[in-house]
Structures are given as C-alpha cells and as structure tokens.
C-alpha cells in the first residue's frame, strides 16, 4: 500500500470523535506561528537511565585524585591515545563523545560536572521519579516537569514528542504529548482507526493517545521518507531495545580482549541505529508545526561490574548518546542554531572503583548541555574536586548544583517560561533554587 495518506479524512474522523486533541501537526496552523521567536525554539531532553557515571562522561583528569580513585577504569590523560578529549585544564570528555567534543570546541556544548537531584537515597527509581517529575520530594508529583512547563506556556502553544514504546514520566501530564518508536502502522486502508476513534470518544486514556499516535504515524511517514533510509524503521534502532547488552558477556580470564572486540562491534552497530534515531527525530521537529520539545530515554548506564574505560560497556552507551546528538544536529540542519539539548541522569556513581571493576550508586554526576543556541562558556556550576575531604559521605562526587536550577535556567532562557511558574508549578516549592543564568545566547 503505497498510496499517499488521506490526512484530511483522518483528521476529520478524529475531530469528529471529539477525542480531546484537535489535530496538531497538520491541521493546526495559527498558534505557534503567531508566537514569533518561541515558535522556532527547540528543546530535547535525554534521560540517561541507570545512573550515568559523570566521572567517565567528563573525566576530571587534571584532578590529582582522579586516577588513584579510579584505577583501571580511569580515562587516560589528554596526551594519551584513547585519553580524554580536552575541555580545560581539569576536564575532558570521554573519548567516545567526539561529536559533543567538536561542539564544545565551537562553544556549542558545556558540562555541569557536579549536578544532582534533591534525592540522596541512591535509589534509581526514586531518583528517576524526581528527575522527571521535578518535585523536591519522592512521589511529590505524578506528572512531568516538561509537561507542566508546556502547560505554563499556555494551552497548545507548542507540541512535544517522546521516543520509545513507553511514555516517560517527564512528558506525562495534562498536555497530550505524542510518542513514536520505530516500526510503523502499515495498513493505511483500514477503517479501524476511525471506528476506534468513535469508541474512544469518551475515554480519557485511549482517546487522546490514539489521536496523537495516528498523527505521529503520519509525520513518521514524511520524516522517514525525507531521510531516504530504511534504517530508522528497524526495530533494533529503538533505544528501549537492550539487545546491545545481551550480546556482551561478562569478561573473565583470557576472554576479555575478545569481549572488548565484540562489544566494540556491537557498539558500532548501535551507533548507526542511534544516529538514525536522532535524524528521524530531527525530521519530526523540522516539519511545519512539528513538535518543539522532545524527550528520549537511553538506558543501560548501571555499571556495577566491568564498566570499562575508553572501550567497554559504558563506552558503548556513551557512543550511543553521542550518535543520537550527532543525528539530531545533522538532521536539524540550520534549526540546530535554535536548539538546546540536555542530557541528564538520576545520580552519579561512587568516586572509587568497586571490587568488580565497576562503580556503585553515588550522588552528583555530569549533565551535558549542547546546541547551536548555547551561550559559550566554561563548566556550569562549581567543581567540588575529588579530594577525600570533599567527597559526599566520603564516597561520591559532592553535588554543587541542583538539577532543577539547570532545568529552570534552560526553560527560562530557551522557552521563556516565567520565574513564578518555574518556582511553583513546574518545579514545586523551588523558589530557593535559582535558575542557572547564561546558558542560552
């Protein structure tokens, strides 16, 4: 079935169903365009699940305590092959983060090396909740801060989309967000969508979800054909797929080298899929009236054992992250200059390597901020150093910056969300947490 989509018909069906969402990408025309500058601004939030190790993302190789603490999982110095990619005298980036490093050299990427949510319990699940719901306390909100930020901007002013089969908490809430994962709905001739739209007319869960899903499918057809590649339709490209890690057996004895090679191979395959994912998302976002906000989850950062250094388990996940951003940047083209990307994790990992060449749950970690809209500058927040007396509870990188301050700064400067809304609705009870200033040019 290759005939063009009958969008008019579908739109009419859905509107008739009164499903709570008027047609957005294709039927809606006036709102966003009328908002001038805001209409061009784009924000992508990447949630790195499992506690991404900040000391590997942006290794402080100039900190004298770094190498002794990390031992064999330390990233090498600036002068070493496979060493850190230099940012300043203290910090580099992981050698797999080549795209982000190239951006940093242009003033289009920065690090916040000691950022944390208000959580100190070191539970993945509690901390991810706080990272996404923006509350100062566990179970403080059932919707996501990104959704409430959209609400604060005014109804239906901008659209959002999440990538992956499950809807992430960060985008859940009153505003229906689109979602998409590779592998599309094929049968364009079916009557079923229209019939279901009727049956879902008064269903607050299924009605808006179906309407949004169908719109996104229509967008996907356009976006993926614009790519000229089928690779984005490959289910293996979904970030939710953990087949990458399934194929990386734990190294033991003499197998370590083989395993490293196998991991590197798997990592290369993953990076191709990741780049395609970023490109496809970028095409969504550059459609007329397409979503301006996107959320992506990448999991697999919980590296308790055999974390690796320049190569290995964590390196593969970072290569994946770097490739998503590479795909976004190239797919967005000139629109990159209007874009901010933030990659953050629920907490960091222990400063010490543990007994199994990995790291356990820690506190502060690194957030990455990239985009053509960035204001050039150094690190965001203070660096507490890794001196023994400065470690949090004598084990973790100490937090010097509240994650909410970083997000508030981005929302204020990139999307123009006002301070009062940020302090009360978007991040409840956070008046004491000042937005970080000077992130967006």
């Amino acid at each position: 079935m290759t005939r063009p989509l009958d969008l008019t018909r579908r739109s009419a069906l859905l509107a008739a169903a009164g499903a709570g969402v008027s047609i957005s990408f294709l039927g809606r025309s006036a709102y966003a365009a009328a908002e001038g500058d805001l209409a061009r601004r784009k924000l992508v939030v990447i949630i790195c699940r499992g506690a991404m190790d900040g000391l590997s993302v942006s290794p402080p190789v100039g900190d004298p305590n770094y190498k002794p603490l990390r031992g064999e999982i330390a990233i090498g110095g600036f002068d070493q092959a496979d060493g850190a990619l230099k940012l300043d005298d203290t910090f580099g980036l992981h050698p797999k983060l080549t795209t982000i490093h190239a951006l940093a050299l242009k003033g289009q990427a920065r690090i916040a090396p000691a950022v944390a949510t208000p959580d100190r319990a070191r539970s993945h699940f509690e901390a991810q909740d706080l990272l996404e719901n923006g509350s100062p306390v566990v179970y403080g909100a059932s919707s996501g801060w990104l959704n409430r930020a959209m609400e604060a901007l005014g109804p239906r002013k901008i659209e959002a989309i999440s990538v992956g089969a499950q809807a992430p908490l960060i985008l859940r809430g009153k505003i229906q967000a689109a979602s998409w994962s590779p592998g599309g709905y094929k049968d364009r001739d079916s009557r079923l969508p229209g019939i279901l739209a009727d049956l879902y007319a008064h269903d607050p869960l299924l009605g808006p979800a179906l309407a949004s899903g169908l719109e996104t499918e229509a967008m996907a057809k356009v976006a993926t054909s614009a790519m000229g590649s089928e690779s984005a339709m490959n289910p293996a490209a979904t970030p939710a797929a953990t087949s990458m890690s399934m194929a990386s057996p734990a190294p033991s004895g003499d197998y370590a080298q083989q395993v490293r090679q196998a991991q590197a191979q798997v990592g290369r395959q993953g990076a191709v899929a990741a780049r395609a994912l970023g490109t496809t998302l970028a095409h969504f976002m550059t459609e007329p009236n397409g979503p301006q906000i996107a959320a992506i989850s990448i999991d697999g950062f919980d590296t308790h054992a055999n974390q690796g250094a320049a190569e290995g388990q964590l390196a593969n996940r970072l290569a994946y992250l770097d490739a998503v951003i590479d795909g976004l940047q190239s797919g967005l083209g000139p629109e990159w200059s209007n874009t901010v990307v933030v990659a953050a994790t629920e907490f960091g990992r222990t400063a010490h390597v543990n007994g199994t060449r990995g790291t356990d749950h820690g506190t502060a970690s690194t957030a990455l901020i990239a985009g053509g809209a960035l204001k050039p500058g150094g690190i965001v927040g203070d660096w507490p150093t890794l001196a023994q007396g400065r470690l949090f509870e004598a084990r973790d990188t100490a937090p010097t910056l509240d994650m909410r301050g970083l997000f508030k700064g981005v929302l204020a400067e990139q999307l123009g969300v006002d301070r009062r809304a940020l302090d009360t609705v978007v991040f409840p009870d956070s008046a004491g947490v000042a937005p970080v200033a000077g992130i967006v040019a």
């Binding site: 699940r49 031992g71 064999e72 319990a121 070191r122 699940f125 509690e126 566990v138 992956g164 089969a165 499950q166 809807a167 908490l169 229906q176 967000a177 689109a178 998409w180 994962s181 592998g183 709905y185 049968d187 009557r191 079923l192 019939i195 279901l196 009727d198 049956l199 869960l205 299924l206 808006p208 979800a209 179906l210 949004s212 899903g213 169908l214 996104t216 499918e217 289910p235 797929a241 953990t242 087949s243 399934m246 194929a247 057996p249 734990a250 033991s252 003499d254 197998y255 395993v259 196998a262 191979q265 999991d299 308790h304 054992a305 543990n354 007994g355 199994t356 060449r357 990995g358 356990d360």
Partner: protein, 469 residues
C-alpha cells in the same frame, strides 16, 4: 452492594485471571470466589511444559561455550553471532512455553498471581549468562513458592543463580576475606581487584522486601552486602582450587573464602552468625518486617485492583500477611474476599503481555512460533525476558498507553484478526465469551456492524473494555 453474578464472573476471569477462554464465564458464574480460591494450592504454580533445561544445565552450557569460544575465535567464527545463536536456542522455547501456559491454563488466577511474583523478583536478560537463566529462575525459584511463605520465596530467589548473576552478587568479595587477603589473589596481587558489590543487597531491601523510603540507610546496605559475601554459584572461577566450596556446578554455593569475617550491624541489630546463616538471618528479619508487609500489600493491590489502590484493601492484605507469618496463600484468599477487588469499574490497563495472552485466550489459541510472538512484544515495549531494570515492568496505565503503543496494538490486532480469520467463530459469540457482562452496548454495536469478521475481531480486541481488566 451486591454485584450482578454475570459481572462477577467476568471480573474473576479478566481482572484476577488472564482473560476468559470460551466457556470459562459459564464455569465461574455459580461461585466466582470459589472458582478463584480453588486455584490456590500448596504445590504452587503450574510449570511451563516442554523439554526445558535446569538453570544449572544452562549455566554449565554457557561456561562450556565461553571455554569453547577461544577455539571459535581461532577458527574465525564470530563470537557475537554464536552467542546470539545460543540465546535463540534456549531462551526462546522457554519464553514460548511460558506464554503457552498462560494462554491455555484453566487456572488463570494462579498464573497471574505467579507472573506478579516473577515481576516482583525481576531477573532480566542483561547478558548471555542471565539471558538463559530467566526462565529457569522463574520455574525453579518462583513457581514452587507462590502460595507458600514469602520468606521461602525470598530465600529461593536470593539463592538462585539467575538472581546472583543478574545483580552481580557472584562477583562480590569481602575485603577482609581469605580470598582477598591471600597473596596472589584479591587485593594482594595478580592484578585482580576484588571487593564488595552492593547491587543485590540494595535491591533486596529496596525492591524485594522493605521498600524504598522505609528507613534503611546506606550503611545498612553496605553491611548487608558484607553479610551476603560468599553467596555464589558453583563453577564461578573464584571457587577454584584452594577456595573450593561444596555444591554441584551451576547451583548455589556458599564460599566461606569470599565471606567477610565478623559480625554485621544492620538496622541497629547485630548479626554474629557464621557463614551463610548470617545473611539468612537478615533475610528472615526483613521478610517479617511490617515495612515489607506494607510494600507487598501495596504492590499486590496495585496490580490486581488499581494503580492507585484503595487504602482499606492495602491495610487488609498487610494485616493478613503479618498475622499469618507471610503466608501468600492466605494473602491471596484475602484479596479474593475483598469487595474493593470486585468493583465493576475496570481500573487496570493490560500490559502488552496481558493483552496478547488474553487475545489468544479469547479464541482458544496459543502462539506456536516465538519468531512471530517475541518481536511483537518487543515492539509493544515489553521485550521477552528483558525488563528494563530490577524494578521490573511498569504497573501503571500511563506507562503502557502511550500514543505509539496504542497504534502498534491496533496494527497487531488487525494482523492477528486477519491471520485467525479461517478458524474464527462468530465474532459476537467471541465477544460474549471473552467479556460477558463487561461488553458495552457501543462495542457490541460496532462489532455487529463490522464489514468483515477480521474487522469485528480487531474492534473487540481494541475496545476500551478488552484493553482493560
């Protein structure tokens, strides 16, 4: 408030069970609660059928394979492809027979109750050794104990190679153990690091027992991790030679040589037991804790009744748990006897697995080919045997009812309906057999007006009342 007996039968089959097969509503109608209680039995869950290997056999195969891989490398074979082949050949039939059990069983409540505990004690395919252990873990550690005492279930889970591998326990070494302090091993030399890995200790407290926010500290986690050192699998390389311990290859072993010596202080209590008994005593105490009762009662109520469960129901389940020393058969009976669980409103949205299984049950069918069944689950967000974290699959509707997921369910429903058209009976009869009193007039009308049998079935499967339970 008395509930219509037809509605009660529908609830017994869809909310407590895995969906009604043809004829089941009639069988349950006379006594729905008795119908459910008859599925509770001391022997525990049903076992998936087929030529399935034990966890130990799988463990030993993976080890043999890892030894062989050196040779393969010399022969120019690709180790990744070989690994994937091994996974295909063992984990796939395992998952398929589990799905067939769910689709065919006459004891749907027993299987739902079992799947709840499989998800509570999640082991997922994070690498080759764990990929082949998920099925055996469920069969050997979970299924026999689902109607026994929680403490026994917890112990069986914690001692199974699947869990010990999944949460890195086999790699954890007491920093002052014999192994760590012996020259040439441990910290002493040979270039090998060895030390604590607190992953299992943390997740037992946070996910399996007390629950997050119940008051334990980082120090409790670390001390518990020390107590657990030595809990391992026979055949791991650190058990060789002078550090050998008793036990068959691929099964649980306690390695005294890896165990951190001395008493442990956890939750303000001193544990001065020797060896394996030390962590065993901790498990005993946490299993009996009111915090554990509260955590489990909340999760059970959330799974069976509503994402935001009625507090009175949670309190009743908790009280049964504490009064019966954690007897899960009694907790299950309390659930069945609770009026909150029988409210006609459907408040639970089916996970992808539940949706597919109930769709097969509606037609009295079962999947017979993993390569068609598994990828569908993956595309719907529930990759077989591969929950995204130790917390397991999400429970709440919001996680599963994403726009993309609804569209993909719709696409699958159409394909399934088209494929089953030749064996399909009258669609309206299928709808009545599957939903009974839960079938609403608008859906009934839409099914009757469909222009083809496949379209009618797809409408039924995608109807609001079939997507929920």
């Amino acid at each position: 408030m008395s509930i219509d007996p037809d509605m009660k039968a529908s609830i017994a089959l869809t909310r407590f069970g895995l969906g009604a097969k043809p004829g089941e509503l009639a069988a349950a109608r006379a006594d729905p609660t008795g119908y459910l209680k008859a599925q509770i039995r001391p022997a525990g869950a049903d076992q998936p059928q087929g030529d399935l290997k034990s966890g130990a056999a799988h463990f030993n195969e993976v080890r043999d394979y890892q030894l062989m891989r050196r040779q393969d490398k010399a022969d120019g074979l690709d180790p990744v492809k070989h690994a994937q082949k091994t996974i295909r050949e063992s984990a796939q039939p395992e998952f398929l027979s589990r799905a067939q059990l769910a689709c065919q069983t006459d004891a749907g409540f027993r299987e739902r109750w079992t799947l709840f505990w499989c998800n509570h004690f999640t082991v997922a395919a994070k690498n080759l050794p764990t990929a082949v252990e998920v099925g055996p873990f469920e069969r050997e550690a979970i299924r026999p104990h689902v109607f026994g005492r929680f403490e026994d279930l917890l112990a069986a889970s914690t001692m199974h190679p699947g869990m010990l591998l999944y949460l890195d326990q086999v790699q954890s070494v007491g920093p002052h153990s014999l192994f760590a302090t012996t020259r040439g091993f441990g910290y002493g030399g040979g270039g090998k690091l060895s030390g604590l890995n607190e992953n299992l200790a943390r997740e037992i407290l946070e996910l399996h027992t007390l629950g997050v926010g119940s008051g334990y500290t980082q120090a409790d986690v670390t001390e518990f991790a020390r107590a657990l050192t030595g809990w391992s699998v026979q055949g791991e390389n650190r058990g060789a030679g002078r550090f050998a311990s008793a036990g068959e290859p691929g099964e649980f072993t306690f390695r005294e040589a890896l165990h951190e010596p001395g008493a442990r202080h956890i939750f303000g209590k001193t544990y001065d037991e020797d060896g394996v008994a030390q962590a065993g005593a901790v498990l005993h105490d946490v299993a009996g804790s009111p915090a554990t009762a509260q955590h489990l009662a909340t999760k059970i109520a959330r799974h069976f009744v509503a994402d935001d469960p009625p507090p009175a129901l949670v309190a009743r389940l908790k009280s049964t748990y504490l009064d019966t020393d954690g007897r899960l058969d009694r907790v299950a009976e309390t659930l069945i006897d609770s009026p909150e669980a029988w409210a006609p409103e459907q408040r639970k949205f089916k996970t992808p697995y539940e949706f597919l299984v109930s769709s097969y049950r509606a037609l009295n069918l079962a999947p017979d080919d993993f390569t068609r069944f598994g990828p569908v689950l993956t595309s719907l967000g529930q990759q077989p045997f591969n929950a995204p974290s130790p917390k397991g699959w999400a429970e709440d509707a919001q996680a599963w009812a994403a726009p993309d997921a609804i569209v993909k369910r719709m696409g699958w429903s159409e394909a399934y309906a088209a494929a089953t058209a030749p064996v399909m009976s009258e669609p309206m009869q299928i709808a009545q057999n599957a939903l009974g009193a839960q079938l609403t007039p608008p859906v009934s009308l839409a099914v009757s007006r469909a222009e083809s049998r496949p379209e009618a079935l797809a409408i039924l499967l995608m109807s609001p009342e079939f997507q929920r339970r």
